[in-house]
Amino acid sequence: MLAADKVESPLPYTDTKPVGHADFYFAVNATFRFILRHHGEEALRKYWQDIGRSYYRPVAERWRERGLAGVADYWRAFFKAEPGADVEVIEAEDETRLEVRVCPAIRHLRAHEREIVPTFCQHCYFVNEAIAEAAGMTARVCGGNGCCTQRFMKRTTDLPSQNLEDIATAS
Protein backbone atom coordinates (compact mmCIF):
# COMPACT_ATOMS: atom_id res chain seq x y z
CA MET A 1 0.00 0.00 0.00
CA LEU A 2 1.30 3.46 -0.83
CA ALA A 3 2.11 5.82 2.00
CA ALA A 4 -0.28 8.38 0.49
CA ASP A 5 -3.15 5.90 0.77
CA LYS A 6 -2.43 5.44 4.46
CA VAL A 7 -2.55 9.18 5.07
CA GLU A 8 -5.95 9.39 3.40
CA SER A 9 -7.49 6.51 5.36
CA PRO A 10 -9.57 7.48 8.41
CA LEU A 11 -8.12 4.35 10.04
CA PRO A 12 -4.78 4.77 11.80
CA TYR A 13 -3.60 1.24 10.97
CA THR A 14 -4.22 -0.21 7.54
CA ASP A 15 -3.87 -3.64 6.00
CA THR A 16 -3.36 -4.92 2.48
CA LYS A 17 -6.65 -6.82 2.79
CA PRO A 18 -9.86 -4.77 2.59
CA VAL A 19 -11.67 -6.78 5.30
CA GLY A 20 -10.46 -8.48 8.47
CA HIS A 21 -10.55 -12.19 9.25
CA ALA A 22 -13.66 -12.84 11.37
CA ASP A 23 -12.08 -15.68 13.36
CA PHE A 24 -10.03 -13.05 15.16
CA TYR A 25 -13.22 -12.21 17.08
CA PHE A 26 -12.63 -15.55 18.82
CA ALA A 27 -9.36 -14.18 20.18
CA VAL A 28 -10.88 -10.86 21.22
CA ASN A 29 -13.55 -12.70 23.21
CA ALA A 30 -10.97 -15.13 24.63
CA THR A 31 -8.73 -12.24 25.69
CA PHE A 32 -11.55 -10.68 27.70
CA ARG A 33 -12.30 -14.05 29.35
CA PHE A 34 -8.63 -14.59 30.20
CA ILE A 35 -8.21 -11.20 31.88
CA LEU A 36 -11.51 -11.63 33.72
CA ARG A 37 -10.51 -15.09 34.97
CA HIS A 38 -7.02 -14.10 36.10
CA HIS A 39 -7.51 -10.54 37.33
CA GLY A 40 -11.22 -9.76 37.59
CA GLU A 41 -13.69 -7.23 36.27
CA GLU A 42 -11.81 -4.08 37.29
CA ALA A 43 -8.69 -5.29 35.46
CA LEU A 44 -10.76 -5.99 32.36
CA ARG A 45 -12.18 -2.46 32.47
CA LYS A 46 -8.66 -1.10 32.90
CA TYR A 47 -7.52 -3.13 29.88
CA TRP A 48 -10.30 -1.58 27.81
CA GLN A 49 -9.46 1.93 29.04
CA ASP A 50 -5.73 1.43 28.49
CA ILE A 51 -6.16 0.12 24.97
CA GLY A 52 -8.39 3.11 24.20
CA ARG A 53 -5.85 5.59 25.56
CA SER A 54 -2.75 3.91 24.14
CA TYR A 55 -3.26 1.72 21.08
CA TYR A 56 -6.10 3.90 19.78
CA ARG A 57 -4.41 7.22 20.60
CA PRO A 58 -4.05 8.06 16.88
CA VAL A 59 -7.84 7.74 16.59
CA ALA A 60 -8.34 10.26 19.38
CA GLU A 61 -5.92 12.65 17.72
CA ARG A 62 -7.92 12.52 14.49
CA TRP A 63 -11.20 12.99 16.31
CA ARG A 64 -9.76 15.99 18.11
CA GLU A 65 -8.56 17.47 14.81
CA ARG A 66 -11.66 16.73 12.74
CA GLY A 67 -14.47 16.78 15.29
CA LEU A 68 -17.66 14.77 15.00
CA ALA A 69 -17.28 14.51 11.22
CA GLY A 70 -13.97 12.77 11.86
CA VAL A 71 -15.74 10.39 14.24
CA ALA A 72 -18.25 9.55 11.50
CA ASP A 73 -15.51 9.04 8.90
CA TYR A 74 -13.66 6.73 11.26
CA TRP A 75 -16.64 4.49 11.99
CA ARG A 76 -17.69 4.27 8.34
CA ALA A 77 -14.21 3.06 7.42
CA PHE A 78 -14.02 0.85 10.50
CA PHE A 79 -17.23 -1.08 9.88
CA LYS A 80 -16.52 -1.35 6.15
CA ALA A 81 -13.51 -3.45 7.16
CA GLU A 82 -15.38 -5.63 9.69
CA PRO A 83 -16.95 -8.69 8.02
CA GLY A 84 -20.70 -9.03 8.43
CA ALA A 85 -21.31 -5.61 9.99
CA ASP A 86 -24.53 -3.75 9.32
CA VAL A 87 -24.10 -0.29 10.79
CA GLU A 88 -25.54 3.10 9.91
CA VAL A 89 -23.47 6.14 10.81
CA ILE A 90 -25.62 9.24 11.37
CA GLU A 91 -24.19 12.74 11.59
CA ALA A 92 -26.42 15.12 13.55
CA GLU A 93 -25.67 18.69 14.60
CA ASP A 94 -24.46 17.85 18.07
CA GLU A 95 -23.58 14.16 17.88
CA THR A 96 -22.44 11.31 15.68
CA ARG A 97 -24.52 8.22 16.20
CA LEU A 98 -24.01 4.60 15.22
CA GLU A 99 -27.02 2.40 14.74
CA VAL A 100 -25.50 -1.05 14.94
CA ARG A 101 -28.08 -3.34 13.38
CA VAL A 102 -25.74 -6.33 13.21
CA CYS A 103 -22.68 -6.44 15.43
CA PRO A 104 -20.11 -8.43 13.43
CA ALA A 105 -18.40 -9.84 16.51
CA ILE A 106 -21.54 -11.10 18.28
CA ARG A 107 -22.83 -12.47 14.97
CA HIS A 108 -19.65 -14.47 14.29
CA LEU A 109 -19.26 -15.74 17.84
CA ARG A 110 -22.85 -16.94 17.85
CA ALA A 111 -22.54 -18.53 14.41
CA HIS A 112 -19.65 -20.61 15.73
CA GLU A 113 -21.33 -21.38 19.04
CA ARG A 114 -18.66 -19.67 21.09
CA GLU A 115 -19.40 -18.82 24.70
CA ILE A 116 -19.51 -15.03 24.76
CA VAL A 117 -18.17 -13.14 27.77
CA PRO A 118 -21.33 -11.66 29.40
CA THR A 119 -19.82 -8.17 29.65
CA PHE A 120 -18.50 -8.29 26.06
CA CYS A 121 -20.63 -5.33 24.95
CA GLN A 122 -19.29 -3.10 27.73
CA HIS A 123 -15.96 -2.99 25.93
CA CYS A 124 -17.51 -0.68 23.35
CA TYR A 125 -18.35 1.84 26.04
CA PHE A 126 -15.04 1.71 27.91
CA VAL A 127 -12.87 1.75 24.77
CA ASN A 128 -14.97 4.41 23.03
CA GLU A 129 -15.04 6.61 26.12
CA ALA A 130 -11.27 6.40 26.55
CA ILE A 131 -10.74 7.47 22.93
CA ALA A 132 -13.44 10.13 23.13
CA GLU A 133 -12.15 11.64 26.37
CA ALA A 134 -8.75 12.30 24.82
CA ALA A 135 -10.53 14.04 21.95
CA GLY A 136 -12.65 16.28 24.17
CA MET A 137 -15.72 14.15 23.57
CA THR A 138 -17.74 11.55 25.39
CA ALA A 139 -19.47 8.33 24.35
CA ARG A 140 -22.60 6.47 25.39
CA VAL A 141 -23.80 2.97 24.52
CA CYS A 142 -27.35 1.67 24.74
CA GLY A 143 -28.41 -1.89 23.91
CA GLY A 144 -26.02 -4.61 22.87
CA ASN A 145 -25.98 -8.38 22.45
CA GLY A 146 -26.04 -8.01 18.68
CA CYS A 147 -27.50 -4.55 18.07
CA CYS A 148 -27.03 -1.24 19.84
CA THR A 149 -26.84 2.53 19.57
CA GLN A 150 -23.55 4.31 20.17
CA ARG A 151 -23.38 8.11 20.51
CA PHE A 152 -20.41 10.46 20.40
CA MET A 153 -20.79 14.03 21.63
CA LYS A 154 -18.77 17.04 22.72
CA ARG A 155 -17.77 16.60 26.35
CA THR A 156 -19.89 18.79 28.66
CA THR A 157 -20.62 18.69 32.37
CA ASP A 158 -24.39 18.36 32.07
CA LEU A 159 -24.49 14.93 30.41
CA PRO A 160 -25.61 12.03 32.61
CA SER A 161 -22.92 9.42 32.95
CA GLN A 162 -23.15 6.03 31.27
CA ASN A 163 -25.44 3.64 33.05
CA LEU A 164 -23.89 0.21 32.56
CA GLU A 165 -27.33 -1.33 33.03
CA ASP A 166 -28.21 0.22 29.67
CA ILE A 167 -25.73 -2.17 28.06
CA ALA A 168 -27.12 -5.64 27.46
CA THR A 169 -25.55 -8.83 28.69
CA ALA A 170 -24.06 -10.72 25.78
CA SER A 171 -24.83 -14.35 25.11
Binding site: D15, H21, N29, Y47, I51, S54, A81
Partner: protein, 184 residues
Protein backbone atom coordinates in the same frame (compact mmCIF):
# COMPACT_ATOMS: atom_id res chain seq x y z
CA UNK B 1 -15.28 -1.53 19.30
CA UNK B 2 -12.17 -3.65 19.11
CA UNK B 3 -12.28 -5.03 15.58
CA UNK B 4 -10.73 -7.83 13.59
CA UNK B 5 -9.34 -5.75 10.68
CA UNK B 6 -6.37 -4.50 12.72
CA UNK B 7 -6.37 -7.49 15.06
CA UNK B 8 -2.63 -8.10 14.92
CA UNK B 9 -2.01 -4.56 16.14
CA UNK B 10 -4.06 -4.78 19.34
CA UNK B 11 -3.08 -8.43 19.83
CA UNK B 12 0.59 -7.40 19.94
CA UNK B 13 -0.24 -4.43 22.18
CA UNK B 14 -2.01 -6.84 24.53
CA UNK B 15 1.12 -8.98 25.00
CA UNK B 16 2.97 -5.98 26.45
CA UNK B 17 -0.01 -4.97 28.58
CA UNK B 18 -0.12 -8.47 30.06
CA UNK B 19 3.66 -8.51 30.59
CA UNK B 20 3.44 -5.31 32.59
CA UNK B 21 0.55 -6.69 34.66
CA UNK B 22 1.84 -10.20 35.35
CA UNK B 23 5.24 -10.69 33.75
CA UNK B 24 6.36 -13.25 31.21
CA UNK B 25 4.46 -16.09 32.87
CA UNK B 26 1.16 -14.30 32.37
CA UNK B 27 1.94 -13.79 28.67
CA UNK B 28 2.74 -17.49 28.30
CA UNK B 29 -0.44 -18.42 30.15
CA UNK B 30 -2.40 -16.13 27.81
CA UNK B 31 -1.06 -17.81 24.69
CA UNK B 32 -1.85 -21.25 26.09
CA UNK B 33 -5.17 -20.62 27.81
CA UNK B 34 -6.75 -17.84 25.76
CA UNK B 35 -5.39 -18.68 22.31
CA UNK B 36 -4.69 -22.44 22.31
CA UNK B 37 -7.51 -23.59 24.56
CA UNK B 38 -10.13 -20.93 23.78
CA UNK B 39 -9.77 -18.88 20.59
CA UNK B 40 -8.17 -21.66 18.54
CA UNK B 41 -9.97 -24.61 20.07
CA UNK B 42 -11.09 -25.61 16.57
CA UNK B 43 -7.43 -26.03 15.58
CA UNK B 44 -6.71 -27.96 18.74
CA UNK B 45 -9.61 -30.32 18.06
CA UNK B 46 -8.73 -30.88 14.40
CA UNK B 47 -5.05 -31.57 15.01
CA UNK B 48 -5.68 -33.60 18.15
CA UNK B 49 -8.05 -35.88 16.26
CA UNK B 50 -6.43 -36.03 12.84
CA UNK B 51 -2.74 -35.24 13.34
CA UNK B 52 -0.97 -34.13 10.16
CA UNK B 53 -4.20 -34.34 8.18
CA UNK B 54 -5.75 -31.95 10.69
CA UNK B 55 -2.82 -29.54 10.24
CA UNK B 56 -3.54 -29.50 6.50
CA UNK B 57 -7.21 -28.82 7.13
CA UNK B 58 -6.51 -26.06 9.63
CA UNK B 59 -3.66 -24.13 8.06
CA UNK B 60 -4.87 -24.32 4.48
CA UNK B 61 -7.97 -22.11 4.81
CA UNK B 62 -6.64 -20.08 7.74
CA UNK B 63 -3.45 -18.89 6.08
CA UNK B 64 -5.33 -18.24 2.84
CA UNK B 65 -7.94 -16.15 4.65
CA UNK B 66 -5.23 -14.16 6.38
CA UNK B 67 -3.47 -13.45 3.09
CA UNK B 68 -0.23 -15.30 3.78
CA UNK B 69 2.37 -15.96 1.08
CA UNK B 70 3.68 -19.38 2.00
CA UNK B 71 4.47 -22.88 0.80
CA UNK B 72 3.38 -26.08 2.46
CA UNK B 73 5.28 -29.37 2.16
CA UNK B 74 3.60 -32.42 3.63
CA UNK B 75 4.62 -36.08 3.81
CA UNK B 76 3.30 -38.89 6.01
CA UNK B 77 5.90 -37.94 8.62
CA UNK B 78 6.32 -34.18 8.52
CA UNK B 79 4.28 -31.02 8.09
CA UNK B 80 6.43 -28.13 6.88
CA UNK B 81 5.53 -24.49 6.28
CA UNK B 82 7.80 -21.95 4.61
CA UNK B 83 6.33 -18.54 5.40
CA UNK B 84 7.58 -15.94 2.95
CA UNK B 85 5.21 -13.10 3.86
CA UNK B 86 3.58 -13.45 7.26
CA UNK B 87 0.41 -11.34 7.14
CA UNK B 88 0.47 -10.87 10.88
CA UNK B 89 4.06 -9.65 11.30
CA UNK B 90 3.71 -7.84 7.99
CA UNK B 91 0.82 -5.79 9.37
CA UNK B 92 2.95 -4.72 12.33
CA UNK B 93 5.95 -3.83 10.19
CA UNK B 94 3.84 -1.88 7.69
CA UNK B 95 2.22 0.13 10.48
CA UNK B 96 5.32 0.62 12.62
CA UNK B 97 3.83 -1.21 15.60
CA UNK B 98 6.15 -2.79 18.16
CA UNK B 99 5.27 -2.89 21.85
CA UNK B 100 6.27 -6.43 22.79
CA UNK B 101 9.86 -7.72 22.62
CA UNK B 102 9.22 -10.48 20.06
CA UNK B 103 5.77 -10.75 18.54
CA UNK B 104 6.78 -13.92 16.67
CA UNK B 105 6.97 -15.83 19.97
CA UNK B 106 3.19 -15.94 20.12
CA UNK B 107 3.04 -18.66 17.45
CA UNK B 108 5.18 -21.05 19.49
CA UNK B 109 3.28 -19.77 22.51
CA UNK B 110 0.03 -21.40 21.41
CA UNK B 111 1.08 -23.91 18.74
CA UNK B 112 3.79 -25.40 20.97
CA UNK B 113 1.44 -26.51 23.76
CA UNK B 114 -1.11 -27.64 21.17
CA UNK B 115 1.45 -29.87 19.46
CA UNK B 116 2.71 -31.21 22.77
CA UNK B 117 -0.82 -32.26 23.65
CA UNK B 118 -1.29 -33.82 20.20
CA UNK B 119 2.01 -35.76 20.41
CA UNK B 120 4.23 -33.70 18.08
CA UNK B 121 7.43 -31.66 18.36
CA UNK B 122 8.48 -28.60 16.38
CA UNK B 123 11.61 -27.40 14.62
CA UNK B 124 11.14 -23.72 13.86
CA UNK B 125 13.05 -20.56 13.04
CA UNK B 126 11.88 -16.97 12.54
CA UNK B 127 13.78 -13.91 11.41
CA UNK B 128 11.59 -11.12 12.86
CA UNK B 129 10.93 -9.79 9.35
CA UNK B 130 7.86 -11.84 8.43
CA UNK B 131 9.67 -15.00 7.35
CA UNK B 132 9.86 -18.31 9.17
CA UNK B 133 9.78 -22.07 8.71
CA UNK B 134 8.20 -24.89 10.67
CA UNK B 135 8.71 -28.66 10.63
CA UNK B 136 6.34 -30.65 12.79
CA UNK B 137 6.96 -34.37 13.45
CA UNK B 138 5.61 -36.96 15.85
CA UNK B 139 7.49 -36.85 19.12
CA UNK B 140 8.79 -40.42 18.72
CA UNK B 141 10.31 -39.53 15.33
CA UNK B 142 13.93 -38.48 15.98
CA UNK B 143 14.54 -37.19 12.43
CA UNK B 144 16.36 -33.85 12.67
CA UNK B 145 15.19 -30.74 10.86
CA UNK B 146 15.90 -30.76 7.14
CA UNK B 147 18.89 -28.97 5.66
CA UNK B 148 18.02 -25.87 3.61
CA UNK B 149 16.47 -26.77 0.26
CA UNK B 150 16.20 -30.51 0.87
CA UNK B 151 12.56 -30.81 1.91
CA UNK B 152 10.78 -27.87 0.32
CA UNK B 153 13.37 -27.34 -2.47
CA UNK B 154 13.30 -23.86 -3.99
CA UNK B 155 10.45 -22.81 -1.69
CA UNK B 156 12.67 -23.07 1.40
CA UNK B 157 12.56 -19.68 3.09
CA UNK B 158 16.16 -20.20 4.30
CA UNK B 159 17.34 -19.77 0.72
CA UNK B 160 16.20 -16.15 0.64
CA UNK B 161 19.19 -13.78 0.38
CA UNK B 162 18.12 -11.75 3.41
CA UNK B 163 17.03 -14.69 5.56
CA UNK B 164 19.44 -13.91 8.44
CA UNK B 165 18.46 -10.33 8.99
CA UNK B 166 20.37 -9.91 11.21
CA UNK B 167 19.65 -12.98 13.30
CA UNK B 168 17.04 -15.67 13.72
CA UNK B 169 15.45 -17.32 16.71
CA UNK B 170 15.72 -21.09 16.49
CA UNK B 171 13.74 -23.91 18.11
CA UNK B 172 14.67 -27.59 18.02
CA UNK B 173 12.16 -30.33 18.90
CA UNK B 174 10.36 -27.73 20.98
CA UNK B 175 6.89 -27.18 22.36
CA UNK B 176 7.58 -24.19 24.60
CA UNK B 177 8.11 -20.56 23.55
CA UNK B 178 11.06 -20.29 25.93
CA UNK B 179 12.99 -23.10 24.23
CA UNK B 180 14.67 -20.81 21.74
CA UNK B 181 18.23 -19.89 20.91
CA UNK B 182 19.41 -16.94 18.81
CA UNK B 183 21.38 -17.79 15.67
CA UNK B 184 23.49 -15.21 13.82
Amino acid sequence: MIGCYDFCGHYEWTFEWLRKVGGHELVKAYWDEAIHHDSQLHASKLIGEKGIEGMKEYWGPTLADEGAVYERTVTEDVFRIDMHECPSKGFLLNNGLEQYRDYCDHCMGWIGPLMKKAGFVIDHEHNHCGQCWWEIRRKDDSTPASAPGTLSSQHDVRLRPAWKSPHTDHYERATDPDDKTAVS
